[in-house]
Amino acid sequence: MSLVEQMNAKALELGVPISVQFDLTYRCNERCIHCYLDHDDHGELTTGEILDVLDQLADAGVFFLTFSGGEVMLRRDLFEILTHARSHLFNVKVKTNGVMINEECARRLAGIGIQDVQISVYSHRAEVHDAITKLPGSFARTRKGIACLAAQGIKVTLANILMRENISDYDGVHALAQELGAHYTVDPTITPMMDGNRSVLQYRISGTDLQQVFRDSKLVGNVEEFCAPPEAIAGDDVLDGYPCSAGHTACYISPYGDVFPCVQFPLPSGNVRRQRFLDIWRHSPELQEVRGIRARDLSTCSGCSHVGSCTRCPGLAYLEGDMRGPSTADCEKSFRRTGMPSAGMLRSNIGRASSTPLVQIQLPSV
């Protein structure tokens, strides 16, 4: 077990929120077609409130702190916030679209110890990238931002969300990352909007494309291993396990101070404007409910052959109406990866079949 894994295991044992994503704003200078956010400002936390929350997060034991948005660079107090965070010695990661990063900005980020920046890039072709962000010229500006960060020795990761609009371009983005000295990560997940609106799901890639992605050794490494069918029977260690780190060692704070188990799990669990962070973390009934769920408690998934290897997201399941239920998107991933349908897929097929009239065979009367 690596030291980071040991750290996570210890945090789990001690009930420490070792990892927090803190969105500083939902405002954005891009209008990405697949985005799940409402970009209006409904009353963001003030600078003072944010600095106070950072003090509380340090006291709570948070080590990994990710600032995201919206576009974080739109906060005029961003560097004050980052400097305060670094004075607490958090391991700070910044997620941005990179459009506003110039040489001076990159130099300041490096100067305060920001060594990890993730930038959304949708294509190596400007016309495709800009059509997704709906900001003309965004690709050129983002690319320049990446170069400025790399010149300062900052670790840059290009995050490539896959959609129907850019599915044929991920090789190009991967090559662009290599050219710019950046890391590369790919994600085929499109999530419903935070208000439950599912219209953005139209951009999800097709099952056939997902299958192809899962069989690309440049992305997944050993294809045979990655796509191996699951063990037939899950043992107690799997069934006693918890679905993911959301609410266990990780949580999410919105620009309005709302605390959720995860950015993809919009279950309101408290607000730092009304309560101390640690009180929410320790005593929120919602977080305690999430923490109480073990794989054996999952209504459909506990009996699924994929239960030990599925990337099931409880947040996506929650958005489908039941945090203990299956997540359709993850059922699809497990199926496309291994070729074996999940219990959730079989159940919904049975459900569909039972809603259609049964074919009755009538024996001829004798």
């Binding site: 690596s2 030291l3 980071v4 040991q6 750290m7 210890k10 945090a11 044992e13 001690l14 420490v16 070792i18 003090d55 340090a58 034991g61 948070v62 080590f63 670094r86 004075s87 607490h88 010695l89 958090f90 391991n91 700070v92 110890g113 060594q115």
Partner: protein
């Protein structure tokens, strides 16, 4: 004869690190090379006292020998080995002159 007998060493925590106490141990990550360290109790005392202006020998005498059952010579030798190893990964800065460093809240 150890270096400390002739020339005092000063140690300061680097600004290019992330760190947090977890279950009584100090977890430290070098932002320079992403190496990760767990400091034991004694190493944590030295690391937390590394303010750049207190000589390592004074840290050992007052903070280590004052809190742990260890003789000064042994503790000083181990402390020098530790700080040099952490300095290799950019966790600490070691100098024979006092070191200025930005304040942290840890």
């Amino acid at each position: 004869m150890s270096a400390s007998a002739t020339k005092p060493l000063y140690v300061a925590t680097s600004s290019a690190i992330a760190a947090r106490m977890l279950g009584g141990e100090m977890m430290v990550m070098s932002l320079r090379d992403s190496t990760f360290f767990t400091l034991n109790e004694v190493a944590t005392v030295i690391w937390r006292s590394a303010d750049g202006s207190t000589a390592l020998s004074d840290i050992v005498r007052h903070s280590v020998c004052g809190e742990f059952d260890v003789d000064f010579e042994t503790a000083q030798r181990d402390a020098e080995e530790l700080v040099n190893r952490l300095a290799e990964h950019g966790i600490l800065t070691v100098s024979d002159q006092p070191i200025q460093q930005p304040p942290t809240h840890l």
